[in-house]
Amino acid sequence: MLTIQNLEVVYNNVIWVLKGVSMEVPVGGMICLLGSNGAGKSTTLKAISGVLNLQWGAITGGFVEFEGERLNNKSPQDIAQAGIIQCFEGRRLFKHLTTEENLRMGGYLLSSNAAMRSRLDMVYNYFPRLADMTHRISGYLSGGEQQMLVIGRALMAKPKIMLLDEPSLGLAPLMTKSIFTAIQKINKEEKVAFLLVEQNTKAALSITDYGFVMENGRTVMDGPSAKLRDNEDVKEFYLGLSQVGTKKSFKDTKFYKRRKRWLA
């Protein structure tokens, strides 16, 4: 459904951020994008949803294709219309608007009041907490509630694929769990594909089917999530499991037992 081939992105004409990213998201798939900070994960999402030129970035090579159509130079409004919705990093909301107004803005492209009403009911079904605070100014909600609102707002627009940028940022473990459960429910029931960028590798690999690992602007590894979880390199670099089961001694302290050979 969504294909990215050899994508290259440059910011401000000088900063070369993505150096050849390729990935694919099938219909209804749950894909995760892993990597440490600065790998280019958010930039990949922004390239898909078209907001790059609002941040002085540009796609200089490769393409993004969605259902057969190239999205390279389209405006973010057209891409949202096509069904790709991004939830930005850091719980970005319209802070001075109320919860319900935020959701209504999410449904800006819906054609009728009835459609708006039914989508609103659906979102409140998935996130009952939001129904209790429809008229509260969204800037004053707690972190978990704001994240629910962000996902709900994305859901309002009848997305075919949702790009989630670090949904678990700054949330308590229980709240993270409930958000991820909601994401899985939405994926199954509404048939919405998810491209999940996460730092919380363990949680991300547990709910997704397929994963891509990015380092320094390139995809360096991909595979089904179960295989990634058992991969020795991923275990050491991202899951913090090295020499599991053996007794460690301080004498053997060395930062990388394996050389990171992906960084060429």
Partner: protein, 295 residues
């Protein structure tokens, strides 16, 4: 005693007009985040265009007002397209300087096109007779001003609060990038904003002109009275602009009645003094939006 009540009544009427003028700027501030210092010029320009239409072309007053509102809406859109849009990502100070530039140019243009002589409108928009009761006297231009300004204020604020487009305008002012990613056409919203803001101020300018005459001093009213009204009502609030307008109008009238004789010109300074006092207590204005920050 009747003097004070008369002053209060007149003040409320003028206050509604101040509020309407300030609302034009609130509209622009709300959705593009630009503090448009040239707003007073929209008032003046609009007032003069209406004067031209009604006096030279003989249009009835209500038609002349509507046509001049339309003309100023178009001019507002053009100004946004030519001047403000290319400065979109620049720091707010740069955008402010651009509006100051617009102010100077428009001021000069008014003098060049229409000269410094005052024009007097041929009639009021709603023709009614003088109201005399209980020893008080309300002239038709004041009543006109009050009714029309109030209706315009209510219509505008309801539009912003309830309608989808109004909420979209508030969302755009908050975060343009997020608005774009939700599907809101940001350039369309900004064009609409500048036209509504300009049309609003034009109506205020015409209503002011009806009270006395249309002359180049209208621009002064714009700067000296409407800016303070706006600032202490809260830059993003319609209700605040209206209330602030009432306060300034009433206080201005009372001060004018008692002290204009002994301190000539004090009425011009009163709005600024009120603004200072209120800002000391409430820095964001009476109804302004406080910045929401997570600490």
């Amino acid at each position: 005693m009747t003097l004070i009540i008369q002053a209060i009544l007149d003040g409320i009427c003028i206050g509604a007009i101040y509020g309407l003028g300030a609302m034009g700027l609130v509209v622009i501030q709300k959705s593009s985040g630009v503090f448009n210092i040239a707003q007073g010029m929209f008032m003046m320009f609009g007032g003069f265009i209406a004067a031209n239409l009604t006096l030279n072309l003989g249009m009835p007053m209500w038609l002349g007002t509507i046509v001049s509102m339309g003309a100023m809406a178009v001019i507002g859109m053009i100004l946004n397209f030519l001047i403000m849009r290319p400065l979109a990502g620049e720091p707010p100070f740069t955008q402010l300087m651009a509006t100051i530039g617009m102010l100077s140019i428009m001021y000069g243009l008014v003098m060049v096109i229409w000269g410094t002589d005052p024009y007097i409108y041929p009639s009021e928009i709603i023709p009614i007779a003088d109201l005399k009761f209980l020893g008080l006297h309300l002239s038709p231009s004041y009543v006109n001003g009050f009714i029309i300004a109030l209706i315009a204020c209510l219509v505008l604020s309801e539009y912003y609060r309830r309608s989808k487009e109004g909420t979209a305008m508030r969302a755009t002012s908050e975060d343009e990038e997020l608005a774009a990613s939700v599907g809101i056409k940001v350039t369309k919203v900004l064009k609409l904003t500048w036209s509504i803001g300009a049309a609003c101020s034009t109506l205020a300018g015409v209503l002011f002109g009806m009270l006395g005459s249309v002359n180049y001093m209208l621009g002064e009213i714009g700067l000296m009275a409407i800016m303070p009204v706006l600032v202490f009502g809260g830059l993003e609030s319609f209700l605040g602009a209206l209330l602030a307008g009432f306060i300034v109008g009433v206080v201005n009238m009372i001060v004018g009645v008692y002290w204009e004789g002994s301190f000539p010109g004090i009425t011009a300074v009163v709005p600024l003094i009120i603004m200072l006092l209120i800002l000391i207590v409430k820095p964001y204005g009476l109804f302004g939006e406080e910045r929401i920050e997570r600490i």
